[in-house]
């Protein structure tokens, strides 16, 4: 599971309980930010599978979020129930991940980033230009918050709890995957492709699966994103979003399971704290990333390792 030790698991449950108690103490706007952070964390978690564990530089996670979001909005508009629509959007993202993964696997890392970037640009153009389906630049509005049986999640607080529940369950599943033999195969590829292949890891299938599962998580995040704002437009899923998600993974700590969560918190909350600096925040942020790459290549999560006994080093 997430952390092998009993203490680790206990602290995980405590963190989850604290997060669940958040709606009792914080006002509307911070709670909205918390929902947003969880959603970005989920998308970044997916990207971390592709990038951090399988070592594939992808700049298309924003597009996968978009596919999930538009999928959910269009399905619910047809009267499909929320959970099914969420699954439908995510399945669509998964399928696109497979489709993109196929040509992407034929190229090396430097071209891979460009291909995925190109995919994001095409997806953006489709969202913006195909007005009959996506509403064009005006986007789609009036996306309802779900109702599951007798429980309505229309309220901001209730919807936050739903986001938390979905994110935590998906994260737990992903953690299980990472620690399965499949996850070990992925890491073997990242460390040394040739060696991994020699010991019998099928590179192609593994990379393709990593891509598609990463996309799936992005799709689920998008599906949660749409009802949060009740409105989506193409700009929410542009290349800029993909870059932002990539930075979250790197800032947090590449290939470390909780890295994306830390990254999502930093990338979403920091601008709010630095708001009084106005646009200077963007300059500070990009400067900070450069410093981080130069001096803390393992990401912010590695700061915690400084206080850990040496034996814990290298545990992922």
């Amino acid at each position: 599971m997430l952390a092998a030790s009993r203490a680790g698991r206990a602290s995980l449950w405590i963190a989850l309980a604290l997060l669940a108690g958040l709606p009792l103490v914080v006002p509307d706007y911070p709670l909205y930010l918390a929902s947003l952070t969880l959603i970005y964390a989920l998308a970044a978690l997916g990207l971390n599978l592709t990038l951090g564990y399988a070592g594939q530089v992808s700049l298309a996670q924003g597009a996968f979020m978009g596919i999930g979001a538009y999928g959910l909005a269009l399905f619910t508009a047809q009267g499909v129930p929320f959970l099914l629509a969420l699954a439908g959007g995510a399945a669509l993202a998964f399928a696109c991940g497979l489709l993109l993964g196929y040509p992407a696997l034929k190229v090396k890392h430097h071209s891979l980033a460009m291909v995925t970037m190109g995919f994001n640009i095409i997806a953006f153009l489709l969202m913006r230009n195909e007005e009959w389906l996506t509403g064009g630049s005006y986007g789609l509005s009036g996306i309802p918050r779900p109702r599951l049986g007798p429980v309505s999640f229309a309220d901001d607080r209730a919807y936050y709890l739903l986001v938390l529940a979905v994110t935590a369950s998906v994260a737990a599943l992903a953690a299980r995957m990472i620690h399965s033999p499949w996850g070990r195969g992925l890491r073997a590829i990242r460390e040394n492709e040739v060696r991994a292949e020699v010991v019998g890891v099928n590179l192609r299938n593994y990379k393709l699966a990593a891509f598609a599962v990463g996309a799936l998580l992005g799709g689920i995040a998008g599906g949660l994103f749409a009802p949060l704002l009740r409105y989506i437009d193409p700009h929410a899923f542009s290349l800029e979003r993909s870059i932002q998600l990539l930075l979250m993974v790197v800032v947090g700590g590449l290939g470390r399971f909780s890295g994306p969560l830390i990254g999502a918190v930093v990338v979403t909350i920091l601008p709010e704290i630095l708001r009084m600096t106005q646009g200077l925040y963007l300059i500070l942020f990009s400067g900070l990333i450069m410093l981080l790459v130069l001096f803390r290549p393992q990401g912010l999560i590695a700061l915690g390792d400084l206080f850990r006994p040496a034996s814990a080093e290298g545990r992922r």
Binding site: S111, M114, G118, N129, L246, G279, I283, S286, G287, M290
Partner: protein, 292 residues
């Protein structure tokens, strides 16, 4: 009528393509000598354009001097400083570290220009007359012809530099095999620095040519950088002048697609081309197959 349109589109496509090629060739040179994928290449065009405006409109230098000053600033900041402060420290840390660092550098330049100078588009003086010239009865834009000519001259100059000078030859040796070049006594680090300076000059020239068309705005680099990537991949990463062919292909594809297919999907067209090339010939049109 059709033929005339076609000719005009071709010249316009070649002119734009030659400017993309300038940025793309620099991009490929960086990759070859130092395995740097420069995600800030677009901003390497934006910054010199702002520098020209700064020297000419703000400090009041005459235009040619302003261009010269901008090229020097570009070579110093985007060439030497970036190489020394960023790339040197990341060289042996692999491609991903450099990708992230240059990605952040691009954002840093873009946001700095937007926040500290202006989010609006600044005007840039026309280099060539706006009136078209008539060749064989066909009206051709003087600007397109002039840009095509100037870019061709720059590329010719680069070709001569790489082929005829010792530094050029040493740079090519480093590009082909860093370890072997070092064994032969070539100062690899200096050659990488020379490549960065050369790249900054190329993007500086591209900036001066493209600025009258695009105007000077903090975000013009986004599209330009992407087109330089496309050109480099389509032409082939391991052939310097493959990027030239790639740039022209991208420029022409855009020009034709914008007129004959759809303006809305203009950008998607060169992208489709890129994906087709990757599937059919992953090493690029002119690229050499690499093993391993």
């Amino acid at each position: 009528m059709f033929l005339q349109d076609f000719l005009q589109l071709t010249i316009a496509g070649l002119a734009a393509g030659a400017i993309y090629a300038l940025a793309a060739i620099g991009f490929v040179l960086l990759w070859q000598t130092s395995a740097t994928i420069n995600f800030a290449q677009g901003e390497f065009v934006t910054l010199p354009a702002f520098a020209v405006v700064f020297f000419s409109a703000v400090l009041g230098l005459p235009f040619p001097l302003a261009v010269l000053a901008a090229l020097v600033v570009s070579a110093g900041l985007l060439g030497l400083a970036v190489k020394r402060l960023l790339i040197d420290r990341l060289l042996d840390r692999g491609v991903l570290a450099i990708v992230i660092a240059t990605l952040a550098l691009g954002l840093f330049i873009r946001y700095s220009l937007q926040q500290l100078w202006t989010p609006l588009a600044l005007p840039f003086p026309d280099l060539f007359s706006r009136a078209p010239v008539r060749i064989l009865g066909v009206a051709i834009s003087t600007e397109d012809l002039g840009n095509l000519g100037a870019a061709t001259l720059a590329i010719l100059g680069l070709h001569l530099f790489l082929r005829r000078t010792r530094t050029g030859a040493a740079m090519q040796a480093v590009a082909q095999n860093r370890t072997l070049a070092a064994t032969l006594g070539i100062d690899v680090s200096r050659m990488i620095a020379a490549t960065f300076v050369l790249n900054a000059v190329l993007t500086g020239i591209a900036a001066v040519l493209i600025a009258p068309v695009y105007l000077v705005k903090y975000d013009i680099g986004i599209g330009l950088g992407i087109k330089a990537f496309y050109a480099a991949i389509i032409g082939g990463f391991n052939r310097t002048f493959g990027a030239l062919a790639g740039g022209l292909v991208v420029g022409l594809a855009e020009s034709y697609a914008g007129a004959y297919v759809s303006t809305q999907y203009r950008d998607a067209f060169s992208l489709g081309l890129l994906i087709a090339v990757l599937l059919w010939k992953p090493e690029g049109l002119l690229g050499l197959r690499e093993d391993g």
